[in-house]
Structure formats: structure tokens, C-alpha cells
């Protein structure tokens, strides 16, 4: 496993698009947080340090860039290698495919965690800088929401890895991005009326909604009033549902990879 991890780390860190996407995600997260903080400051009375902390947390954790880019990086873990035929080389160096798959998952997760931390850092810095104009002292951001954002990002990365092992790169990226931004909201619109006793809306059980519940479960008054967020799964249930989707995607990816002719 150590050698497989070393292979995967050199492969990952020497792929140009990884750095480009990472830089875009960090810059985009900062810009998103800046704009959202400014919008909240302009529309809402942020009178206490706790309000400032809430606003900064919301601004930093509602940007979809870190999870989306982590998902794309997950898809690329297989997609890039398939496209350039280096996956064959990888299996020659590490012939135990489950070991190679495990190494890809670990490196992708580690990279997603680093990316998420950098995006959060940049977004919080931008949000606090934007909110400094309100003249109110700031408190620390909500650690639970930040942890949830990290979990959501890791989930997207591993979901992407599983999808990338099953589908070609472009199809995998489109599945992930259009699935979250277009397909799932459409399904949610139809499923929104369906209620499951003890759970809530059936729409909350959809994969990306379940992932989002990791961030929004600890809803503050500000998030309810500004973003009209409500009705998400309870944190534990959200983690469980999202984990099932990730586990299914990962298992499907491993099954496909183990049988794949290269």
C-alpha cells in the first residue's frame, strides 16, 4: 500500500489540471464568500459577534466550489489515467487492483481535505474582511458547520472516484455536476411533496441533498431567515444517507475496476 500511495501521490501532484482546478476553487470560494457576506451585511442587521460568526460561517460553507472540485478531482483519478492510458501502467506497477483503488481513494480524500481547508480559509478570510465594515467584533465560526463542509467535500470526492471508475471522464464530471445542479433539484421538485414518517421530505434523501445536510443541519436563525433553509435531515441521518450513496458508488467503481480490461 505504501508504494501504491507513493505512486498515486506523484501522479496526483504532477497533474497540471489539479493545480489549476484547486486554484480556481480557492479563488472562487473567497469571491463567493465576499459577495455573500456583503449581501448579508446589506440586508440583515448583524448586531453581535455571534451574528458576524454566523454570517461568515454561512458565507464560507455555502460555496459549492470545494465539494464540486473535489468531486471532479475524484472523477479525474480514473478519468485522466484512462484517457492517457496510464491506468494500464498503474496496474502493471501495482497489480493488486483493490490496493491501487484504495490508494486512489486515500490520496483523493487527502487532497480533498487539503483543498477544503484552503477553500474554507480563503472564504472565511474574505467573509471576515467583508463583514469588518459592519464595525461589529467577530467571534469564531461554527466548527460543526465547518466540519460538516469538510465531510461533504470528502463525500463528493469519493463519490466522484466511484463514478470516475465506472464512467468515462467527461460523462463522470457531467453526471456529478449536472446531477447536483439540475437533475436532483428537478427530482426534488416532484418528490418534495412526498413525506416519509420520522424522516421528513423524500427529497431530503436524495444524494446531494443528504450531503448538503452535513452543512445545514446545524441551522442558525440567520440561515433560516436569509437562505430559507429548513427541513433537512437530522445530522446523524444525513451522514448515514450520504455515506450509503458514497459507499455504493465506491463499491460499483471497485467492482468495475477489478473486472476492467486495459
Amino acid at each position: 500500500m505504501k508504494s501504491a500511495l507513493a505512486y498515486e501521490w506523484v501522479r496526483f501532484s504532477s497533474t497540471r489540471s489539479v493545480w489549476i482546478l484547486g486554484a480556481l476553487a480557492i479563488a472562487g470560494s473567497a469571491a463567493f464568500a465576499w459577495a455573500m457576506s456583503a449581501m448579508m451585511a446589506a440586508t440583515t442587521q448583524l448586531g453581535s459577534p455571534a451574528d458576524i460568526a454566523d454570517a461568515a460561517t454561512i458565507a464560507a460553507t455555502r460555496a459549492p466550489l470545494a465539494p464540486a472540485v473535489a468531486g471532479v478531482l475524484g472523477v479525474m483519478a480514473f478519468g485522466q489515467e484512462t484517457r492517457h492510458r496510464t491506468l494500464l501502467l498503474a496496474t502493471l506497477v501495482v497489480p493488486r487492483r483493490q490496493v491501487l483503488y484504495g490508494a486512489k481513494a486515500l490520496v483523493t480524500a487527502a487532497a480533498a481535505a487539503i483543498l477544503c481547508a484552503l477553500c474554507l480559509g480563503a472564504a472565511l478570510a474574505a467573509a471576515y474582511a467583508s463583514l469588518a465594515g459592519t464595525g461589529t467584533a467577530a467571534a469564531r465560526p461554527d466548527a460543526l458547520a465547518l466540519t460538516g463542509y469538510l465531510g461533504q467535500t470528502l463525500g463528493w470526492a469519493l463519490l466522484g472516484l466511484g463514478i470516475g471508475a465506472v464512467l468515462p471522464q467527461l460523462a463522470g464530471i457531467l453526471t456529478l455536476l449536472l446531477g447536483s445542479a439540475l437533475v436532483e433539484p428537478l427530482i426534488a421538485r416532484f418528490a418534495g411533496g412526498m413525506s416519509i414518517p420520522g424522516v421528513g421530505s423524500a427529497a431530503d434523501l436524495l444524494p446531494f441533498a443528504a450531503g448538503a445536510s452535513l452543512v445545514t443541519a446545524n441551522e442558525s436563525e440567520l440561515s433560516v431567515s436569509i437562505l430559507a433553509e429548513s427541513g433537512e435531515l437530522a445530522p446523524a441521518l444525513g451522514v448515514a444517507v450520504f455515506s450509503v450513496y458514497v459507499a455504493v458508488a465506491m463499491a460499483a467503481g471497485l467492482a468495475r475496476f477489478r473486472q476492467q480490461d486495459l
Binding site: 508504494s3 507513493a6 506523484v10 504532477s14 497533474t15 497540471r16
Partner: protein, 305 residues
Amino acid sequence: MIVTEGLGKTIDGRKIVDDVSFELHPGEVVGLVGPNGAGKSTTMKLMVNAVRGQGRTLFDGVAYADMISPWQQVGVLLDPNMFYPGRSARKHLLMLARGSGLPDSSVERTLALTGLSGRRSNTPASYSLGMRQRLGLSSALLGDPSVLVLDEPANGLDVEGVTWLRQLLRTFAEDGRTVLLSSHLLAELEQVADRVLFMAGGRLVADTRLSDLAGSSDRTYSVVRCDRPEALATALRLEGATVEDQGPQQLSVRGMPLKRIGEIASAETCTLYELSAHTMSLEEHFVDLVGPGHRSATTALEEIL
């Protein structure tokens, strides 16, 4: 020793590789030769578990998929275009070295061995096909393995490169190591291989030492041009020669020395315009055996070898 048993691969009901078995011994350079689509590449991929199929290959008793660090035992080149275009050659090899648990110094060693040291910071996308082959060979040689499995390694190499490759492979085998290399050009193997495995239609149709093939009597023939070829052909056939009509007034004769052909022509009062001896190159011999319009490769090779 490498033992392959019953290798097979079927795609959409068509047998790409069909029950291929052979053994490779230390110190041998073995050529895997056959026309395009004969199943050479798939056979090599089956050996190293890159495609799933029937049969098994054991390298000193261990399957490739069960090796912990296979790159240190078996060097493989299946395609010179397996690289990420934005990654330098050095990084590419470093990735493979780290993945194989090899020291970083192995990268510089193989770059020097394959003559790529001066271009190590360039990306393979800027390389010629010959340089990509050298990079592929660098990858295969990284772990200083005891076995090399190379699919068409001479493709794209210039004359100097081909000479270098031959010397490299011969030196490799003289160290008691084993080389399996494929080619659809038998001439490429003529100067480097000890043994040749012929594949056609997914089957291994012959396994012979190159020296036996080179000494095959079917490679030599005589060309006769005369004024009455029909009469001469009949007389030669009666004496046991194999005669083929090669066009106006020209015959190809096998299985009879020039002197005897001349004597029979004289007895038949034929006027000779030409009587000459020829030896087919191994390439021509191979095309003669498996080329289109000929008998099935299996039958022909079994008869000859």
C-alpha cells in the same frame, strides 16, 4: 522460467487468443511474431493480468497479479503512448519508481541507459515516436528486472536506435535474463531472437528456434527462364522437383540443385535464358507461409517446421 498455460480471450464470441501455451527460459530472447490482429498484444496483456481471460502465466512460479513489486522482476512495455502529456519524463519515471518501491536513482540510471538524460525535463508529448519508445523502455528497465515483455519495441526507432535495442536485448539475455518481444516484422527479430513463436488467428501455430527456420530447405529456390517452360516443368516434376509457374517463360523450382536443373533442361533441348539460385529472407518466407491467398498459417507452418 516463465510458463504460460492455456491463455485465452474471447470478445463478443470471437476468440482473440485461443489456448496459447509456451515456456520461456533464462538467457533466451524469444520473438512473438504474427500479422496484425494475430493476438500478440492481447497475449502479452493476458500474461501480466492487464486483461481478464482464461489460463495463467507464472513467472518463476508466481502469477503477475500476486507479485508485491512486479516491476522489480518483470519489465513491461505494451504501448509507448502511456503517459500524461503535461508530466516530464523524469516525473513520469519517478512516479513508476516510487510505485515500485525503487530508489529515485533508478530514474537517472535508466534515463542515461536509454539516452534520454538530456531531455528528461521535457514532456513526452514533445518527443518523437522513437523517443517515446525509449521512454517506454526506460520504464520497463527501471527495476532492473529479470524478464522483459516488450510489445513492438522497435516501432519508430531509427537505424541507430534499432541497433542499440538489439545490443541491449542481447546483453540482457547474456546476463541469464529472459526477453519476450513481439513484432509483425520477422526481419526485426532475425538478428536478435533465439526462438520465434508464430501466432495467427489467435493461435500459437509454431514454436521454433530461429536457426531451424533459417536452415529450412523451403527458403531456397531456383529461377529458370527458358523458351519451353511447360515441357521443362513436366520433366522437372517427374524428377521430384516442386515447380511453380511465375509468369511468361519463367519457373520457380524447389527441391533440386541448379546443376540437375541444367542437365534436365539440356536433355529437353530447352534454350535457357536464366538459371539462378535464390534464398528467401525470413520475412519473405513468413509472408509466403501466412500471407493472403495462401494455405492456412497453421497448416503451412506445421508442414514446414
